[in-house]
Symmetry: C2
């Protein structure tokens, strides 16, 4: 019975993982639009003031959801680093800089 219980919990985790991947995909679709807008207007791919606001917000969200703030920062640091790489590639394509 406990093996069935374990499998049920794992199925739930697998569904949540797909939901997380789907949200990450949505996030990259929106950040792609940001990248195009930045490149078209000659804005830099990195925006330290925006990142500072985001990091403060992640700390707050981690607190609200009872999660380890360092871990949540690490997750979004990885996402933002990937976005910056994408934005630099978009800027190179558009030739804005």
């Amino acid at each position: 019975m406990q093996v069935t219980e374990l499998q049920t919990l794992r199925d739930t985790i697998d569904h949540l993982d797909e939901d997380i991947v789907a949200l990450i995909a949505k996030r990259f679709a929106v950040t792609h639009q940001v990248g195009v807008l930045k490149a078209q207007n000659g804005f830099d791919a990195v925006d330290p003031s925006r990142e500072k606001l985001q990091m403060a917000r992640y700390d707050k969200l981690a607190g609200q959801y009872g999660l380890n703030a360092d871990f949540i920062r690490q997750v979004f640091r990885g996402l933002i680093d990937e976005v910056v790489l994408n934005h630099k590639a978009i800027a190179a394509d558009i030739g804005g800089r």
Copy 2:
């Protein structure tokens, strides 16, 4: 106008980020249950065969959602490592091993 457009996109990103944090919190709630079940039954915190299945699934999901598979693996590697730490702490608390 483009500054407004940028702000609108950033607001969307902020909402998606909260949804991502909420899903991560749900995922940790479920993996906590898995940790208790494992500790109660004397199962090891690390399960290489389950991890292998998960990694294959993340590659498939990355493909389905048009995302960089290495990046998606990295996100979930971070999540799973955090879960394993939690499971070891639960096992130590319950005294199963």
